[in-house]
């Protein structure tokens, strides 16, 4: 019951993060969607860790949180530099590497 609820919630949160990434054109909002997906994956890890009685899932969550912190630090630094140079933050306008 609880495991099913946790997995369904993880699924729904992941889908919401996915739709945020696909719908939004603002780099910060896309980043927030990615963080939401990471959290959904974390919830699934903890739920399975609880269901199987093994701690390996919780270890995976520790690593996910550390990597998310590193990712947020570098990503936000890149946003600051981009915003300083191009005065925009929309990924449709930032296309010097595309064409």
């Amino acid at each position: 019951m609880i495991l099913t609820a946790a997995l369904l919630l993880g699924m729904a949160l992941f889908a919401l993060g996915l739709v945020t990434v696909m719908l939004r054109r603002s780099a910060i909002l896309i980043f927030l969607g990615i963080e939401l997906m990471l959290n959904a994956a974390n919830l699934t890890f903890v739920a399975f860790s609880n269901a199987t009685g093994s701690l390996d899932g919780q270890i995976a969550v520790i690593f996910t949180i550390a990597i998310a912190a590193a990712e947020a630090g570098v990503g936000l630094a890149i946003f600051i530099v981009l915003f300083r140079r191009f005065k925009t933050q929309s990924v449709d306008d930032l296309r010097i590497l595309r064409w």
Binding site: M1, I2, L3, T4, A5, L7, L8, L9, M11, A12, F14, A15, L16, G17, V19, T20, M22, L23, R24, R25, S26, I28, L29, L32, E35, L36, N39, N42, L43, V46, S49, N50, A51, G53, L55, Q58, I59, V61, I62, F63, I65, A66, I67, A68, A69, A70, A72, G73, V74, L76, A77, I78, F79, I80, V81, F83, R84, T88, Q89, S90
Partner: protein, 163 residues
């Protein structure tokens, strides 16, 4: 009791998740994400991951999301929220993919024969730490290196006189 509490906070987390996807202002979306993380912290606690519940609150909500809020407030994003609109075709495709993904995921979960009762394991921090420093020592050290590299990289990138 635990189940009711779990379901209540799961619903709250879903509500905040919907807000993250629906709100167009980065500040409000980030604050909703803080709500999601707070609810998930309670869920972690109810699932027996007490240490992770605290880490989720202190590191994720307290450090990572505050960093987000700092940057959002540092950048002058007025007017950005309106112009950053997706193309209608893009929107339609995103919603179709969202629905397909959600149906597939929920279906997959529902057809599984999952155990109804969950073992309420209460492992302490000691077990977690022992595992982290024995079997997962190498990934742990790799992550410390990654964090150092990320800190140096973020500092180098965001310097004022960046050429």
């Amino acid at each position: 009791m635990t189940t009711a509490l779990f379901l209540a906070f799961a619903g709250l987390a879903l509500l905040f998740g919907l807000l993250v996807a629906a709100l167009k202002h980065p500040l409000y979306a980030a604050l909703s994400l803080v709500g999601v993380i707070g609810c998930l912290s309670v869920l972690f606690y109810l699932l027996g991951a007490t240490f992770l519940a605290m880490v989720q609150l202190i590191v994720y909500a307290g450090a990572t999301l505050v960093l987000f809020l700092f940057v959002i407030m540092l950048l002058d994003l007025r007017g950005e929220a309106r112009q950053a609109e997706a193309h209608p075709v893009q929107k339609g495709m995103a919603l179709v993919l969202f629905a397909a993904f959600l149906c597939a995921g929920v279906g997959t979960v529902l057809v599984q024969k999952l155990p109804l009762a969950t073992k309420l394991v209460k492992p302490g921090v000691a077990d977690l730490g022992r595992l982290l420093f024995t079997r997962y020592l190498l990934p742990f050290e790799a992550v410390t290196l990654l964090l150092l590299a990320a800190a140096v990289g973020a500092f180098l990138l965001a310097r004022k006189e960046w050429k």
